[in-house]
Amino acid sequence: MDPKSKTLKTFETPPASPSHFSFTITKVAVSQICQSIGFKGSKTSALETLTNIAAIYLQTLAKSASAYATSSGRTDSNLFDLIYALEDLASVHGYPGASNVNNPLLRSATVIDIMNFVESTDEIPFAKPIPHDNTQKESIPPKNCNEFGRAFEQRSHIPRWLPPFPDPSTYEICSKTRFHKSIRRENSLKIFGSLRNSDTFAQDIEQNDSIGGRASCEEEERGSCGMELAAERARVRFKMCVGGEEIVMGVDLRNGVCRGGKRVSWDNNYSRMGEQEGEVKRRRL
């Protein structure tokens, strides 16, 4: 009960950095070794010191072996480099046959000691399966993995570490996109802005600019509530496919404003509705 809560606590308190992750795993391995030796428990400081020393020993061994490999003009280390490194580290303590210059390397006492150790020691596998951190690998491809993103990802000239393309709905030709009626009104500002033909859209932009920055800011703030457009502009019709059925919105959608039969674009009505919202509601009632 108590050690379990302790381990949980050590997992929770510090931030999950890679060094802490490896340190924790080393700690488990070192404590397993200590337990196999005969210890029943340990002070935290002592165990952490021994863990640090294990990590430093391993890294020193690796550095020394790679240094021997580098001095021989190789990048990959081999057995001889490793034995040299082992002898280097064992030379503090001393090992039999260290003074013998002609002793062949493969018969080094350090290696023989390790062989004896492996034969005499019981095999203690690591206590827990190591959780593989796959999140980093998965985050390299885009998170919103739709067909568009995948198509771009498959292109080999784009490096994998580059961020994914933005969502296709932000730059795809929007007449192909389908809307549900429920979100149609909410997205009226952005979607209808891009739905229009490019020339009318440019016209709108000019008109918006003429209104002034303050108005456009207000539009952004109000968002779905509608936008203030210039009163006069060309009639706009657009077709949409909803469930295979073509809807011409300017005609079909007759709300209170175009009840008189006059064809007015839905967008225009809606934008007016924003500023005359109360009036429209009263008429509907």
């Binding site: 080393t26 210890f39 029943k40 340990s42 391993l58 280390s77 081999n78 057995l79 492996v118």
Partner: protein, 136 residues
């Protein structure tokens, strides 16, 4: 002549023993997991595609830690037997084998690592002292 033949034969035996040992490492599971060893090796610039060498590094580290821990255990037992000799009633309490910093520092001194307690200030002069000397 015969002596040199013997040594060459012995050398050959040793080489084959070593290759057998390396082959047996493929089936051996060290306590230090392969992933961890690979992580530290890659961090230190050690490149090797051979799994046997990675296992050898793991086993060498395991042996080192086991030696240090054995030394510390001997220190612990020796200290406790000294305490028990003085105070019989403490036997039950101190019988537990716990890895402490003082035993570890003594064991590490033999392999060339100097570890000391962190310095701190104590209320009374006897607070930070060795329990064996404190009891006297």
């Amino acid at each position: 002549m015969s002596h040199s033949q013997q040594t060459s034969e012995g050398r050959h035996d040793d080489d084959s023993a070593l290759s057998d040992f390396l082959a047996s490492l493929m089936d051996y599971t060290p306590t230090i997991p392969d992933e961890l060893v690979e992580h530290y090796l890659a961090k230190s610039g050690f490149q090797c595609p051979d799994v046997r060498l990675i296992r050898l590094v793991a086993v060498a580290t395991q042996k080192f830690i086991a030696e240090v821990a054995t030394d510390a255990l001997q220190q612990c037992k020796a200290r406790q037997s000294a305490v028990v000799k003085d105070k019989r009633d403490k036997q039950q309490k101190d019988k537990r084998l716990i890895l402490t910093m003082e035993d570890l520092s003594k064991a590490l001194r033999e392999v060339g690592v100097n570890v000391k307690h962190q310095e701190y200030f104590a209320d009374s002069p006897s607070t930070g002292m060795d329990p064996a000397s404190r009891d006297e």
